[in-house]
């Protein structure tokens, strides 16, 4: 790693209430990394730290050699949450346009781009629909279209597709893959699904007992799992 690293945790300790998570490693550019580990181990805290919702009490998180800005909206990050990725009373079009115009006032060129993004996720017929009238998979597509427009180099997935069935989840990951390739982005993905790790992620970061461990190739981590991971997997 080293040279191609874009995201660096420099002796970071994140604090969320009484909970502490320490991290001291790097994530290389362009990869697809699974964040794995038991519930309550700190996976979401790690993502929240990168997104800027949780501040480090020690060390700093660097992006391309520079410390990250404090404002989450100014960070080079697109994040999909587990819930509430869309504003329920805004239409598909408005929700997607937030990716380019967070003030909901897109210009003509931006409106065109919004249309194109909605088309690319296959929702052209639903542009004026409200999220509540869409299926779970369609709602995920809206969020992905917004992510496409934001074109941030870092994509964080905090189990956004956990409620979807296996086939739909695969569709969504394929769509994210397209966004990732198009924007040459780096993906960090929290998932409890072993298959997701194996098919999508070349590297994995194991998070347990208040520590986020340095990345290891997924197949290697699964071949020689540490005890905590073995307990989590039930092996």
């Amino acid at each position: 790693m080293g040279g191609g690293a874009v995201l660096r945790f420099d002796q970071v300790v994140l604090a969320q209430g009484d909970f502490r998570l320490s991290a001291d490693f790097e994530i290389p550019a362009g990869g697809w990394t699974a964040i794995v580990g038991p519930s309550g181990g700190g996976k979401s805290t790690l993502l929240s730290g990168i997104a800027g919702f949780v501040r480090p009490i020690r060390g700093q998180i660097e992006w391309c050699g520079q410390p990250m800005t404090a404002d989450p909206g100014q960070r080079p990050v697109s994040m999909l949450f587990q819930h509430n990725n869309l504003f329920p009373h805004l239409t598909v079009e408005q929700n997607v346009s937030l990716g380019l115009a967070p003030n909901l006032n897109p210009n003509t060129a931006q409106k065109e781009a919004v249309k194109e993004a909605i088309r690319s996720v296959g929702l052209s017929d639903h542009a004026t629909a409200l999220p509540s009238n869409l299926s779970g998979g369609q709602q995920s597509r809206v969020a992905i279209a917004r992510m496409l427009l934001r074109s941030k180099p870092l994509i964080l997935l905090d189990e956004p597709f956990a409620a979807l069935g296996p086939a739909l989840r695969k569709d969504m990951l394929d769509l994210v893959k397209q966004v990732q390739v198009k924007n040459n982005a780096t993906v960090l993905m929290v998932s409890h699904n072993l298959e997701d790790w194996q098919t999508s992620c070349d590297t994995a970061c194991f998070v347990a007992d208040n520590v986020a461990h340095p990345l290891r190739p997924t197949h290697q981590l699964l071949a020689e799992p540490p005890q905590a991971l073995r307990d989590y997997l039930g092996r």
């Binding site: 997104a51 800027g52 919702f53 800005t69 404090a70 404002d71 989450p72 909206g73 100014q74 990050v77 697109s78 994040m79 949450f81 819930h83 509430n84 990725n85 504003f87 009373h89 805004l90 408005q94 937030l98 990716g99 967070p102 003030n103 909901l104 006032n105 917004r146 934001r150």
Partner: protein, 517 residues
Amino acid sequence: MASRTVEVTIRRVVGSGVLALLLTLSLGTLAMVALRAEGYGGLRAGDWAAVRFTVWQALLSAGISVICAVPIARALARRSFPGRSMLVTLLGAPFILPVIVGVLGLIAVFGRSGWINDGLTLLGLPNVSIYGAGGVILAHVFFNLPLATRLILQGWLSVPPGQFRLAASLGADGFALHRLIEWPMLKRSLPGAFLLIFLLCLTSFTVALAVGGGPRATTIELAVYQAFRFDFDIGKAATLGLIQIAICVCVAALAFLVPLPRVQGGSDVGVVPTWSRPSPLDWAWIGLGAAFLLVPLGAIVLSGLPGLWGLPSSIWSALWTSVWVAVLSALLCAAMALGLALMVARSADGVRKLAEGIGVLGLATSPLVIGTGLFLMIFPFARPMDFALVVTLTVNAVMSLPFALRVLAPAVAQVYSDHDRLRQSIGMPQGTWARYVVLPAVRRPLGFAMGLAAALSMGDLGVITLFADPAVETLPLALYRLMGAYRMDDAAGAALILVGFSLLLFWMFDRGGRGRA
């Protein structure tokens, strides 16, 4: 970073400003009053009688309301019948019914030439009088029995149906069922209901003004009014006001031991499962309870209709005054509630504490004491009469604030907990966030809160009585003046207009909150 700090600062400043205003109006006016209470000694026997009457009428009113509510709530919980949800909705009506109108309805039924006395005369029996201590308690029970019934009904319906099923399968009915399920539930819900109604009756002014008075039926609030208005003895008014506040603070402090119940809205309430044979007593209780509520309400309509034509023109200008006072009061109340709700939006604990604190403050403060204090504040600089309407609408807004906050604060906090991270992560500006996310999300509770505030303000007859001069009157005050002049037909017509417009304002705001759907 910078924009975020600014945003947090703005919310703090607005919220603190609202809090400062509230403290000025409650504690500031109290301090003002305390400064003028020279010597604290000028109370005569009659004033102490008022203190005693205030406490015992409130004890009795709350006791009767709660005790009678138990069988009515039990019957309502167990019986399903057509019109049941309508009746449950109507149990909420006395809350927004202008007090002076309710009193007029009671006078039409129980008054000197009311329906009851007409019947008694026909039977050759002695008549009853609504004026005096009995009338004050009767009116308080009329306003609070429905509230108590709703609260206790909630208690019954909060028992998981499985418990009734289990009790039935064990063969427990009658007394056993009562000991197993009903008594433990009542032990939880009765003290809170009693305390709430006790507090409401302690600070009641309009009822005592309309049917009380005299040495045996004067409450402290009424004594404050009389000392101020008739004797212009500000020292005495101030001393009485302090006693009133002291009693309320002591009782409100009990609210920390016995949590006050929350009134839930809605009328689509379930039925408690019952397998025993329905008791005819249930129907008797439902019938009695409904009659006690509905007959005076019907009397307002029946006696008001003929009086609608030929009302004095002063009624129409009073109506116009009342409507704009009510609308401005609702706007002010909503602005204050939003400011406070935004200040604590990110902390569920903060929402709860703030709502409880303001709620207790609202129950413990007395509009008449606030009014007296404001009068004293304005007096050195200007003619207080000129500020009658401004003071009225401000005090009304403050008195409605606990209710508004209770519906608004959780909704605002919900928006923040659901979407604040998304807002931050996509960098949505504050203006867009407020206009496109927060306002649409809280529109319904906002409309409801404003409707409530407008209706309560429209029907209020409190602080305006202190400031009123003949030229300025709200509709409730005009109505009270008609009653004082024994023009009962005109009063009945004005009452119908008042209740009609109160409901109309409530409906319009509430409807506005629901949108076009």
